[in-house]
């Protein structure tokens, strides 16, 4: 068997999805901050999207399971806030996946100074901004609820953070 590299692990972790948004891998979500290999041991630095994210434990279990299946035995997952998550860390492919899932991708984090940026979210169906903010809190901590006046339907946006 050839030497396992951090790049290979990164590739494998694309199979692990966010349990709350199953089209988004942990890599695309941006919660894997570092992968370090030393003498057959892998240490994965990870940071949650929201401090109270209830999916964190499931994500950790899935990482363990996936990497064990690839033959890795010594896996450490270090959850910390040294390099905190922001919604800007979602990759371009992640943003496309969110959109096709029907969830509006988050606007750039630096724009989120007041309600206005949340007020006129881009509808993931028609692409227009003739929308209204209905609730800054949604079905999960990371989503807000909006309404599109053109489609006459509600949609959710991944919150900028």
């Amino acid at each position: 068997m050839s030497e396992i590299t951090a790049d290979m692990i990164r590739e494998w972790l694309k199979e692990v999805k966010d349990p709350e948004i199953p089209v988004l891998s942990l890599i695309d979500l941006g919660v894997i901050r570092d992968i370090a290999l030393e003498g057959g041991e892998v240490t994965i630095e990870m940071t949650p999207t929201f401090v109270g994210c209830p999916a964190l434990e499931t994500m950790k279990e899935e990482i363990h399971k996936t990497l064990r299946e690839k033959g890795l035995e010594k896996i450490h997952i270090d959850v910390n806030f040294r390099k905190p998550w922001t919604s800007d860390l979602i990759s371009d492919s992640g943003r496309r996946a969110l959109k096709s899932f029907g969830l509006a991708p988050p606007p750039p984090n630096h724009l989120f100074m007041d309600l206005d940026v949340l007020e006129y979210a881009v509808c993931p169906r028609c692409g227009n901004t003739n929308t209204e903010l209905r609730n800054t809190f949604g079905p999960t901590l990371c989503r807000s609820i909006h309404y599109c006046n053109d489609c006459k339907e509600a949609f959710e946006q991944f919150k900028p953070l």
Binding site: T47, F50, V51, G52, C53, P54, N80, F81, R82, P84, W85, T86, F112, D114, L115, R134, N135, T136, F137, G138, P139, L141, I145, K159, L161
Partner: protein
């Protein structure tokens, strides 16, 4: 390492977040609007998650595990201010408390991003972003209902007058105040209160609600030293009811 001072600081913030988080969760299924039901439930989840992260830092400093700390202590060992343990009452009181409390906790974490204790500085930078949604929510509703109808203004004003003495209890000085300030761990309750008053005045000036002269408000203190109202033990009994059936159970 100024361990006692750091621990006291972490405990009081974590306890505030846990107890108000629990109070917020009592709105689940009962909110006056579905949106408010979801909002208070989400804020509960955030706050309890944030308290868990703070208890985890305490665990690294040698304190018991977060679950034990949250569920096994009696009321006199909690450091939360009395304000957060008061029953939810009507929605007007819950909203006023949400506004007064979250304005303060948002500033507190903002100040803590420059703490000399690195772990709390890192965590605060993260929590600061999350709390933006809480203050946004509070400010939006206070602005709307604070100048909507005579009834909404009257009810919020009554709740505001009732809440203010308790709210000032949030800033009860720590026994380690001087040490915290001198070592750059936290800039202190006085500095926090000053910024808080300014922010509260700013938002309320956009409504018909009236603030009294601050010097005439008598703070209700004691919570930071474990002296609580009768409401805390009742809350803790309910919150830990399931946990205490079998503390060693794996969930």
């Amino acid at each position: 390492m100024h361990e006692s001072a750091i621990k006291e600081l972490l405990y009081k913030i974590a306890d505030d977040q846990l107890i108000l988080g629990h109070r917020n969760s009592e709105w689940t299924g009962l909110g006056p609007l579905l949106e408010e039901d979801i909002a208070f439930s989400s804020m509960a989840q955030d706050k309890i998650g944030q308290s868990n992260a703070l208890y985890s830092i305490l665990e690294q400093l040698g304190e018991p595990a977060p679950d034990a700390v949250a569920f096994m202590r009696s009321a006199s060992r909690f450091h939360n201010c009395i304000f957060v343990e008061l029953p939810n009452g009507e929605y007007d009181f819950s909203l006023i408390r949400h506004f007064l409390y979250d304005t303060a906790i948002a500033i507190r974490f903002e100040m803590l991003t420059s703490s000399s204790f690195q772990k709390i500085a890192e965590l605060s930078a993260k929590i600061r972003g999350e709390l933006k949604y809480h203050t946004l929510h509070a400010n939006t509703w206070i602005r709307q209902l604070g100048s909507a109808t005579p009834e909404s203004v009257r009810r919020l004003q009554t709740s505001l007058d009732y809440a203010l003495p308790y709210a000032l209890g949030m800033f009860e000085p720590s026994p380690f105040e001087a040490e915290l300030i001198e070592k750059g761990l936290f800039a202190g309750e006085t500095a926090l209160q000053r910024q808080w008053q300014k922010k509260v005045e700013d938002v309320l000036s956009q409504t018909q609600l009236v603030l009294p002269d601050w010097t005439e408000v008598q703070p209700v203190t004691g919570g930071r030293y474990g002296k609580h109202s009768e409401h805390l033990q009742a809350l803790l009994d309910e919150m830990s009811e399931v946990f205490r059936i079998d503390p060693s159970a794996e969930w």
